[in-house]
């Protein structure tokens, strides 16, 4: 029987628009766009030029400091454009897909017979190393460090999140292979977290891992919270983190010998007419699943990811690298609500009790619902931050960029996503995730 941990703090935001558990089909778009900014902490160096032909698995670019770390094209086709922004930063690499399904052949391998170095090299060569992230700093894992442990989260508790059980249905063999491969990469253990609601055998009965069962509201599914409860990260230690669907992609590499970056993606949100799941590779244009399928006549916000940590995209946007969810909510910039501070409107949602709530589910828009202020209310972040860390004090230390204090208060254990709920409930409407992101980046610069 798995070890069980109860999480009490947290918040399940009751949003409208959870995805119906039906596969609606496979989406193939004309163009596939890869955005290097998705892969936090790396400096991209191009490996292709415009008009080059690529296969699925061919490196598009590599990391400057680790030239062995490739980033694969998810499809076969022709590189048609490389969009650059300020200081010639690469914004997008656009590949015109030929849908011929040509894959680079990496060869089917038996993980059991490989050494750790061989496993690592296989993943790096196949261009999918980015699926592994590391703490501290929440960046793409450095391949030269051996992690203390590897943590895999097997469920997602974010608002409207897809069911990991559903995503991994019939990919159980790949998942197990992926977990076996990860076990070769660490001298410690591979920890797999499941929810009390997890039923999938591939997760529940996974081998070669330590399974911990979590019970509780979001952010119980965040790997950072799980690490904090299982075995916290100390100064000088490195752990790697993944989520279960990404582990299955790694497993697929060894089982099939190809780089197949196909994800099952949940289309969610209050403004989606027909929710459901679609199969597509990362970088796929999403306009086909939005067309005629979203509310008309109001300003909309399209998000790749969930409403707490996702990235804002537009209606012609693409699926970003780490996401298994796409959300559409109202933007709200066309709404002028009078006397909001005195409102008794049942459409307003608050985690606290300053509003009475009658609705069971809410249609929330992207408004800040207030102006930015100094931190005034206390004990607000703590209620949704189930880690043995003082979030408010840590945020203040980051703002002041006091390195000693940040270390003392546990900066190495957190990622921006862990502060997403704090940011949601924050009366002072501060951009906490951005503050943490900037703090982690500056700290990494100082320390490395």
């Amino acid at each position: 029987m798995a070890n069980r941990i109860n999480i009490k703090k947290g918040l399940q935001i009751p949003l409208l628009g959870a995805a119906e558990e039906v596969i609606r089909g496979t989406v193939k778009s004309e163009f596939v766009r890869i955005c290097p900014e998705d892969f936090h902490g790396i400096t991209p160096k191009l490996a292709v030029r415009v008009d080059d032909a690529v296969k699925a698995g061919t490196p598009l670019f590599y990391e400057k400091n680790h030239p062995e770390m490739f980033f694969a094209s998810p499809v076969s086709g022709i590189v048609t454009a490389i969009d650059r922004g300020e200081k010639r930063r690469i914004l997008r690499i656009v590949v015109k897909a030929d849908h011929a399904g040509q894959y680079e052949d990496f060869g089917v391998k038996q993980v059991a017979s490989l050494s750790g170095e061989e496993v690592k090299k296989s993943i790096l060569d196949a261009g999918i190393w980015f699926l592994i992230k590391q703490r501290p700093y929440d960046v793409v894992a450095s391949p030269v460090k051996v992690p203390r442990d590897i943590f895999v989260t097997g469920f997602d508790t974010a608002p409207l999140a897809p069911s990991t059980d559903f995503l991994l249905n019939d990919r159980e063999a790949d998942l197990q292979t992926g977990l076996d491969a990860l076990a070769k990469l660490t001298t410690g253990k591979v920890y797999l977290s499941v929810s009390t609601k997890t039923t999938l055998k591939g997760l529940r009965e996974a081998k070669n891992v330590v399974i911990t069962e979590f019970n509780g509201p979001h952010p119980a599914g965040n790997v950072g919270v799980q690490i904090n409860h299982i075995k916290p990260v100390n100064r000088g230690e490195t752990v790697w983190t993944l989520n279960a669907p990404d582990v299955a992609i790694i497993g697929r590499l060894f089982n099939k010998g190809i780089t197949d970056l196909t994800r099952t993606v949940a289309l969610t949100g209050s403004e989606v007419k027909e929710t459901g799941y679609y199969n597509m590779v990362i970088g796929t244009e999403l306009k086909h699943i939005f067309a005629q399928n979203v509310t008309e006549g109001v300003s909309l916000r399209y998000i790749s990811g969930n409403p707490l940590t996702g990235r804002k995209i537009d209606e012609n946007g693409e699926l970003r690298a780490y996401d298994s969810q796409v959300t559409v909510i109202p933007e709200g910039d066309d709404i002028h609500e009078a006397f909001g501070w005195a409102s008794f409107s049942p459409k307003r949602y608050s985690a606290g009790a300053t509003y009475l709530s009658f609705h069971k589910k809410f249609r929330l828009d992207a408004r800040l619902m207030g102006g930015p202020r100094a931190i005034i209310v206390s004990n607000e972040y703590d209620k949704v931050f189930p880690m043995d860390i003082y979030p408010e004090q840590l945020i203040k230390a980051i703002i002041a960029f006091n390195i000693d204090r940040m270390e003392q208060l546990g900066i190495y254990e957190v990622a921006p996503e862990d502060f997403a709920l704090c940011e949601f409930v924050d009366t002072s409407k501060l951009e906490l995730q951005r503050i943490v992101r900037v703090g982690l980046d500056l700290l990494r610069k100082e320390m490395e």
Partner: protein, 406 residues
């Protein structure tokens, strides 16, 4: 509302950068966001936000203060007509009290908000809502007969030197309303204590003219006890302003002289219920203030030497500013301890100190103000030790992990 929105949209460009009224930008923004929820949407981080904002939080506190304010106004009218020996209806008494208190509220808001708006403009920030609460607290914690100019001076002093020099709402160390009161108390003691300030005997806007009857004495119950010649509490009786004995229900509902907000413990409890139910005020702080007070009372009762040391607990909690301070002042999140464990310690020490000052310092029959200000100064220290526990645990864990590796 649509017409108003259109009008605001029309005049808005004047207040933007480059507009001729740009120097009033913060003011315009404050008024616009007061009328309409801002429609700016999130640019980074979470895409959805909780409906609670700073305005909502402050609104709840103000609503929670209203019962105490209304009971205080009624009490002002009640005592006025009692002192003059005149009959008057409940409505008349309330209107008299309302008219007597209203100028204080207006002065406090005009002075405080004026400064806040000006400073927000200079800093190019939005106007913070903190003073909306402070501005109503100030008239509630001073005697009804405090001259208006004193309130103006004290409010200006407190807003500038207790808040804005530290950076504005959210950065102040001391509770701004209490600094106002402390400023008045030490600058104009004759207007802030004694027997003459608690009951308004003059007329208000021509209302309630008359002369004071012979039996009148304006001392507050705590004032009476502090100056009594009685050797023990048993020999002592609390008297109303016309010499009749006070019942405990008078003290509970607020039919005693005192500062406007503090007289009715009943109304304060109504406010406490709202603060706790909405989660705006910390129940831990409120409860621990009373716990600290209770412990102090038990101790002084045990070693009682005089009447005030013998006073039982219920009187301590009903009289003076104890309940008001516990519910509305100690819970100010900015100046209170910010950690949950810290709040227990912070509140407990406030209760303990308030009773100690009340009982042992004959100069100040009321200890709540000083106790809270004192603990405001110590709140960061309390938090420091609470957080230090967490830090030590983390350091220890890291040290053990390092050892394990070697």
């Amino acid at each position: 509302m649509k017409a108003l929105r259109k009008y605001l949209d029309k005049i808005k460009p004047n207040f933007e950068e480059g507009g001729k009224l740009h120097w009033l930008h913060s003011t315009f923004d404050a008024i616009e966001t007061f009328l309409f929820v801002p429609n700016n949407t999130s640019r980074s981080g979470v895409h959805i936000h909780d409906a609670r904002d700073s305005k909502r939080t402050m609104t709840i506190v103000i609503v929670a203060l209203i019962p105490a304010l209304l009971m205080g106004m009624y009490s002002v009218g009640l005592h006025h007509y009692m002192a003059l020996g005149l009959e008057a209806s409940i409505v008349t008494k309330f209107i008299y009290g309302f008219l007597a208190v209203l100028p204080h509220i207006v002065v406090s808001y005009v002075v405080g908000l004026g400064i806040e708006f000006a400073i927000a403009q200079v800093r190019k920030e939005e106007v913070a809502e903190g003073f909306l609460v402070t501005g109503i607290l100030i008239p509630m914690i001073v005697p009804v007969d405090t001259p208006l100019w004193m309130i103006a001076v004290a409010t200006a002093f407190a807003v500038i030197f207790a808040k804005e020099v530290f950076g504005g709402t959210g950065y102040n160390i001391f509770n701004v309303a209490l600094i106002t009161r402390a400023f008045l108390f030490f600058s104009y003691p004759s207007k802030m204590s004694g027997d003459q300030v608690w009951v308004r005997t003059a007329d208000t806007f021509g209302m309630g003219k008359g002369t004071v009857i012979d039996a009148y004495s304006g001392a507050t119950p705590l004032g009476q006890l502090a100056t009594t010649g009685a050797g023990s509490f048993g020999e002592f009786t609390f008297l109303g302003i016309t010499g009749e004995p006070l019942r405990i229900s008078d003290m509970f509902f607020g039919f005693i002289p005192g500062s406007i907000g503090e007289v009715s413990t009943f109304a304060i409890l109504l406010g406490a219920v709202l603060l706790i139910a909405t989660g705006v005020g910390s129940w831990k702080t409120i409860l621990s203030v009373f716990l600290g007070g209770a412990v102090a009372v038990v101790l002084v009762n045990l070693f009682a030497q005089n009447a005030i040391m013998e006073m039982p607990m219920q009187y301590h909690f009903l009289l003076g500013g104890f309940a008001f301070g516990a519910v509305f002042m100690a819970t100010d999140p900015v100046t209170s301890a910010r950690t949950e464990k810290g709040k227990w310690i912070y509140g407990f020490l406030i209760g303990l100190l308030a009773i100690t000052i009340r009982v042992f310092n004959p100069g100040y029959p009321e200890g709540m103000m000083l106790a809270i200000l004192f603990m405001n100064a110590f709140a960061p220290l309390i938090d420091f030790y609470v957080i230090d526990g967490n830090i030590k645990r983390r350091m220890k864990r890291a040290a053990v992990a390092k050892k394990g590796q070697q």
